[in-house]
């Protein structure tokens, strides 16, 4: 049993590393606090002879241990923010200049619609090719910057490619542009992660990641209208 699904995009590993960093901090916080709690419960069990301490934490001397705990948490918090910043920047703030492939992916009840640029290589022109059927498989090339325009025609959906650690909502009236680069070939399930109605759990398509040549071949067949 692996905790995460296999990491197949360029930023997936960074996100997994972030998970372990947070786990380190959270685990420390958990075991220290629970340790003190259990120690106190055993060490200070009731006895009629015991004279309990009476400090109230009103002076800094008494308060310092709690203050230390808060300071440690603050440190952990900000360290996580600092550490994740590059990843965040990569994923969210900078769509690469060089778009190797630009696809529109549109949610509808209940399948994803994919729009590929036509032979002219540009999206949103007359020769775009639209794939709109449940359980369809689209192909994308490996080691390339694939840019998705995410949108929806009816309710909110959410594009979730768990192996790529890629998830963004598809919202009617908006276009959210995000990118991903796969570095492992394979066929990945595209899940809808936002409740979108009765058949939400059946909203499934596939993304096939393959080498440039195989992808080109698929694309040519797509243009020729000959692939199944």
């Amino acid at each position: 049993m692996n905790i995460f699904p296999e990491a197949v995009s360029t930023y997936a590993h960074e996100m997994d590393k972030l998970f372990w960093l947070i786990t380190l901090f959270a685990g420390l916080g958990f075991f220290i606090t629970i340790g003190i709690l259990i120690y106190s419960l055993i060490r200070f069990r009731y006895s009629p002879q015991r004279k309990p301490m009476t400090f109230r934490g009103n002076t800094f001397r008494e308060f310092r241990w709690v203050a230390l705990g808060m300071a440690l948490l603050a440190f952990a918090d900000f360290y996580v923010l600092y550490d994740e910043h590059d990843t965040w920047d990569k994923m969210m703030q900078s769509v690469p200049e060089e778009k190797d492939l630009h696809i529109a992916i549109t949610g509808r009840q209940w399948n994803w619609i994919f729009t590929y640029p036509g032979p002219d290589g540009k999206l949103y022109t007359a020769d775009d090719v639209i794939i709109n059927e449940p359980n369809s498989t689209i192909h994308i090339p490996i080691h390339k910057n694939v840019v998705f325009d995410i949108r929806s025609v009816d309710v909110i959906h959410s594009v979730f490619l768990k192996e790529a650690r890629f998830k963004y909502d598809a919202i009617p009236g908006r276009t959210i542009t995000k990118w991903v680069q796969f570095h492992r070939p394979g066929k990945y399930e595209l899940i809808c992660a936002e409740l979108c109605g009765v058949l939400h759990s059946k909203m499934r398509n596939f993304i096939m990641v393959e080498s440039e040549e195989v992808f080109q071949q698929w694309l040519d067949e797509l243009y020729a209208g000959t692939n199944e």
């Binding site: 905790i3 699904p5 947070i22 009476t54 934490g57 709690v66 918090d77 994740e84 936002e194």
Partner: protein, 567 residues
Amino acid sequence: MATHTQSFWTKYIFSQDHKVIGAQYLIVGLIMAAVAGFFAYVFRYHLAYPDAEIPLWGTLDPRTYNMLVTTHGALMIFWVAMPILVAAIGNFLIPTMLGTDDMAFPFLNMLSFWVFFLSAVVVVTSLFVPGGGFDGGWTLYPPLSADAYLNTNPDFWKALFSGGSLVILALALEFASMLMGGINFMVTTINKRARGMSFSRMPILVWFMNFSVVTFMFSVGPVIAGALMLLLDRVAGTGFYDAYRGGDPILFQHLFWFFGHPEVYVLLFPTLGVMGEIIPTFARKPLFGYKFIIGASIVAIILSMVVWAHHQFVAGINPYMAVFFSVGTILISIPFAGIILSYVATIFGGNIRLELPMWWAVGFLATFLIGGLTGLYLGSNTFDIYAHDTSFVVAHFHYTLFPITFFGFFAAFYYWFPKYAGRMYNDFLGKLHFWGTFIFFQLFALPIFFLGLNGQPRRMADYTAFETLMQDWHIQFREIATISAILLILTQFIWLYNFIVSLWKGKRVSSDNPWQANTLEWQAPSPPPHGNFEVYPEVYRDPYTFGVVQVNGTKRDFIPQNEKLPS
């Protein structure tokens, strides 16, 4: 004193006595908990065994699954946690702890309850209207909840008597009721404290109750406006959330979460208050950092108004804004960590009596700690991109809201039962109930973290369509979670039995102050009569004077707030 005789109706139904009203809220809340718990059993069973017939239910189609999940969430938060933690505990305790006879506005108090009752009736009715109950998620996200994209000219009455509209109406009534109740709490606190009870001598629970209702009052406005607009979209065909008519679905998410995040604190504060009373009493030690806790809560309330968009990191929010909300979110962890650590510091160095209420308090601290710490993963905007809308979130908020609601309630229940029932519960059954609840809850929620981390999305009727979500260990973990959830629910029958039997047949308490606590409610008779006190108490000190002291020649480790010492 109230000496007039009362008929059955004015005594138990249209009562203006805060204790009866508290009991009424409690009963409605518990009935709703039973409904919501039963729904949880049905859909958890379905998740573990997608093809099986569900005992006591039958088969489950995806639409009904969505409806059950939606209703479970809405009921548990608004019709279980809100009435039990805020309204019931607040009603039972605020006037007695302040040493007074009743709320500032007894009639308004009664009215709040009946508006709440009406809201409960409406929300239950919404399950049975033609077209079925609402199935769009308790977060009510439009356009799914608005049906606006299909529906520009709805039939008004038909749309009004549909599941979704009735849920919104019920919410509006519930909010109105809680606002009235909250105003009552605040006015009572300001005006009706006993002589000598300055603000700095108030029990921490009364502070927390007021924080709770203040937070509610300051955050609920936007969601009321937003919900009205949603209702209009449904019944009048407006396009407030319809992107094709200039509206904006994200707008609702902002309005909803502006309220939604503080709402968690609305529920957390009463429980922190309960723990703040129980822990010093059983640790026989003054509450650590009384003033600090109050200050930290105020900071948290202010911060809670600027964190809402952390629920929208994947919803196309501006990435720079997301960093701002992420900072706010992690900042807010700090005051709460301080409060939890203050409670641990109260336990440290005490003379600890491990009675049942203390078990619940410790269980709360341990469980809630996991809930709080897993919030770090979701507060991190980057990791949230992956974890958002997965079962990790489900496990996280069950790890916060379950201890808040149920550990909070049961701690309060066992602690104050001798006072308000005048009888003792069965301690053995109570311990059994505690360990069952504690263990089965962990076994129920822990596997869900791992399923979520492995990419299992939440709110899915079944995972059979996705091969990668049907690995052997996935199926086993779902089974463990489901079986534990069922055992967790069954454990509650031990409590119910204990409650009912102890209420009629429990041993009468020999002392009005069985835990040797200092707050004023323990100075009233058990159970307190209408009007609470025979002689209204006057307060001479703070409520946490514990430790070995010499009082009138006898050795004792507590001094009640109203005990006058010879100078």
